[in-house]
Amino acid sequence: MISCRKAAELMSGELDGRLSGWQRFALKTHLLLCSGCVIARKQFHWLQKMAHIAGTEPKATEQLCMDEKTDLPPEAAARIKAMLEQAPK
């Protein structure tokens, strides 16, 4: 019987479609006997869906970019503005 640690590794491989038949069997068997890993697997699948939404829903994509500590440095902003003004339109 594989460990919970190994099961978590296989669950990640499952999301990426990289499991062999034997690995799928080992994971299924573990899940029959371990309620914690059943929940963990649901959470991993949920995480995968949230990540997909973050990449495909424009509003979610922008929400994930929210970060008060990071902004375009003022020098770069000034440089890009000047360049945009000079660029042929």
Binding site: R5, G13, Q48, A51, P58, Q63, M66
Partner: protein, 211 residues
Amino acid sequence: MPDAPLTDTGPQQPLRVLPDSQTWVDEFGGILYRYAMLRVDDRQIAEELVQETFLAALKSRNGFRGTSAPSTWFIAILKHKILDHFRQQEDKPSGSQQLENAPFVDGLFTFTLHYRVKPSAEPSDPAHDAENMDFWRIFRRCLDSLPENHRRAFIRVTVDGVNSGDACRELNVSATNLSVLLHRARSRLRPCLEKNWLGTARRGNEDGRRI
């Protein structure tokens, strides 16, 4: 003659207008820079990518159809610039980057390899969570707590949908090590989100700020 049906805008969606290019940097420079920084993690490269995005936008602004928000349009251009950036990187011998040992994944488990904190919170409807601004703030905080290469692997593969061959080249790791990075990222994000979101009353809160 009947009106031509509007495509993909929905009945109540008014067409959006692209603002004047003089306002672009102030209005969209920040979000584009943050989007790029999450993916390249190099200030100078991120600045260059933002600059190239605005230049390309200037050339093709007649292509803006108004069916999406201007920010969405700029981000779509930036996505292409990021792909170009990684493709133009001179071909390094791929897979040369070795991974450091990561005790933090093992820290989630006891010495018998069981969970220290047993997963217990049932996840709910992803679409419902996605509408809550608090969720994305917490997701971002959990992402920020990851080591840089784990975060980038997770974002490029699971958020951006980059195929594993391209992701290996971008991150300069072998296919096996990419799997390890993804596993470690997920194994850290899962308990972070359980602790701060799934297992809390926040997510059921109907007053949560909508995005």
